[in-house]
């Protein structure tokens, strides 16, 4: 255990923890808006395009982070334009962009005489080799993403919820759509060092999927997703560091698998909650067909009698073997 504490106190580990906290907050924040637009895979698409950006950085000797930011933003804007034009085969166009990005990246990395291992750092993350400058860039960019996602939440929510309504409300929806695309691109490159370009989308989408199992409002979904994302990225990093004494455990995949484990445990709870809510939804009030008493009723319905009590107008129906029993004087009516 003392070795573990020693490991955590090392500078590279502390840099990694800082990066994990900030990406864990930022990725689900923008991810919530992507999921709301039903574009959960957009992060994945941008990630593929960003591979080319990284490769250009390796080829030209410029910082791969910044070339990735630029190419990812260009890719995100291209995706947004294709989406806005509403081409029927928009998803095919997106697919072309993804594969082009990935293939271009691998090709250019080869031209740059860099090894596949170097590219792997970006594809699957290498949070423990992150430098001081990288940490600062990560923190600043992530903070910008979080501030915009939270500060402009009413506008971004309205635009994602209903574009036409937002437009007639006088919002510049194109500007907001481009803003979301750019923020998604920035987040992808921020998370690139943490979980890697190919797993980036998981950190943007999985915490959102988990939190919406249990939430009923947008605000809680957003807040819980950010909390879950941070928990997954910090927890995954600590877990992989702890396990690293036994085996080679990469932090990126650990983070993603931990986030998925969160979803797997929340999912049954969500199903149960939704089922319970549906069972207890009030029955519609319509004129009664006829007064029909139940047969001799051996059971006394009441609070906690074990039967689901459903509001029905001014009284309560108890659901009993597929019947609806409503108390009426000394007997029960079939409703």
């Amino acid at each position: 255990m003392s070795e573990y504490v020693d490991l955590l106190s090392m500078a590279f580990m502390q840099r990694a923890l800082l990066a994990a906290v900030f990406t864990g907050l930022a990725a689900p924040a923008i991810g919530t808006y992507l999921v709301q637009r039903r574009m959960a895979l957009m992060g994945d698409g941008i990630g593929h395009v960003a591979v080319t950006g990284v490769a250009i950085g390796l080829f030209t000797g410029a910082s791969p982070t910044w070339t990735a930011v630029i190419v990812a933003i260009a890719g995100a804007i291209a995706i947004e334009v294709i989406r806005e034009r509403g081409h029927a085969n928009g998803d095919v166009a997106l697919a072309l962009l993804f594969y082009g990005g990935l293939a271009g990246g691998v090709l250019i990395t080869g031209l740059a005489n860099e090894s596949g291992a170097r590219l792997n750092q970006f594809l699957f993350g290498s949070i423990t080799t992150i430098s001081d400058t990288d940490v600062i860039v990560t923190m600043v960019l992530a903070a910008v993403v979080v501030l915009i996602c939270v500060g402009l939440a009413p506008q971004l929510f309205a635009v994602a919820q209903d574009q036409e309504f937002a437009r007639v409300a006088g919002l510049n929806i194109r500007a907001y759509n481009l803003l979301v695309a750019v923020l998604a691109a920035v987040t992808v490159t921020v998370a690139m060092r943490t979980v890697g370009l190919l797993l980036v989308s998981a950190l943007m989408v999985v915490p959102v999927a988990t939190s919406q199992q249990l939430s009923r409002s947008f605000r809680t979904t957003l807040g819980a997703a950010m909390a879950l994302g941070t928990a997954a990225s910090v927890g995954g990093l600590l877990l992989s560091a702890y396990l690293s004494f036994e085996a080679r455990v990469a932090p990126g995949p650990t983070i993603v698998l931990l986030a998925l484990a969160g979803f797997v445990s929340a999912w049954p709870v969500g199903i149960w909650l939704r089922r319970r809510r549906r069972l207890r939804q009030p029955f519609p009030v319509v004129p009664v067909v006829a007064h029909q008493e139940t047969d001799e009723h051996p059971h006394q319905h009441g609070e906690d009698c074990g039967h689901v009590a459903v509001p029905h107008g001014d009284h309560v129906d108890y659901v009993h073997d597929g019947h609806r029993h409503a108390p009426h004087g000394k007997h029960y009516d079939e409703h």
Binding site: A158, D162, E164, F165, S217
Partner: protein, 262 residues
């Protein structure tokens, strides 16, 4: 009375194909106008043109006396789009969806003020969903979701409402609630432009019916019974408001019938 919506000789083409032609429409303050017509007659397109969602190919549009190009007073306009429901990919509570209607009056990065909260509460009250404000919109029935969308428009406290088929696929009790809501809105002095295939319980509220047929206005005048809508272009009423030559030939009607509904 001042005119709230004024469209002169409006036309809309979609991908080069003329959809709306020769539309002259003036809606005066406080009027309750029903835009009617068969599917594909252009009534939804007309509302989308009036709200700026479709650009006009020709013609001039002004809202509240301001030419559309320089109109920025969007808090005066409330829009209820034609939608299957109010749900999206992430849960949102009824209150949150209605609160987004307040955006027309909110400044960037400012929290909701007391007046905002009061308007949201009032809008929820009018549509009778105040008791479900905290629930997720996706747990509501289709008719209730439609009421949420109307409350969202109401929350901005506009003077002019455009509603695109709010009663499509809504059961009768919910249609009744919608009609009561519209009565309240109209009673508060709002101008209402309602697109509807059938009026149902809203029929007594209408001041004026405009019937669209194949992208043109076929009738503009006092309210019609629903069976009259289909034949509105055949009787003499259509000379009521606009000036078309008397020799209204029947060839366009025949060809439009052959084309059928798009």
């Amino acid at each position: 009375m001042s005119s709230v919506v004024e469209l002169e000789n409006g036309a809309v083409s979609i991908a080069g194909r003329p959809i709306l032609r020769h539309i002259d429409l003036t809606v005066r303050s406080g009027e309750f106008v029903a835009l009617m017509g068969a599917n594909g007659s252009g009534k939804s397109t007309l509302v989308r043109a009036l709200t700026g969602l479709w650009p006009l190919t020709t013609g001039s549009l002004s809202l509240f006396g301001t030419p559309f190009g320089s109109f920025h007073d969007w808090q005066r306009v409330g829009f209820v789009p034609q939608r299957g429901g109010a749900a999206s990919g992430v849960p949102a509570s009824v209150w949150e969806v209605v609160a987004s209607g307040r955006l027309t009056r909110r400044k960037l990065l400012r929290p909701l003020g007391r007046a905002d909260r009061a308007a949201i509460a009032d809008a929820l009250d009018v549509v009778g969903l105040a008791h479900r404000a905290r629930e997720s919109v996706s747990s509501l029935s289709g008719g209730q979701q439609q009421r949420v969308l109307i409350a969202r428009a109401l929350a901005g406290e506009p003077d002019l409402f455009f509603l695109d088929e709010p009663t499509a696929g809504v059961d009768l009790p919910n249609q009744q609630v919608l009609a009561d809501t519209l009565r309240t809105m109209s009673g508060r002095g709002a101008t209402i432009v309602l697109v509807a295939h059938e009026l149902g319980p809203m029929a007594p509220l209408i001041d004026r019916a405009v019937v669209m047929r194949d992208g043109r206005i076929a009738y503009d005048g006092s309210p019609l019974a629903s069976e009259q809508v289909a034949t509105a272009h055949l009787d003499g009423h259509h000379h009521h408001h606009h000036h078309e030559p008397d020799h209204h030939d029947h060839a366009p009607h025949v060809s439009s019938l052959l084309e059928g509904d798009r």
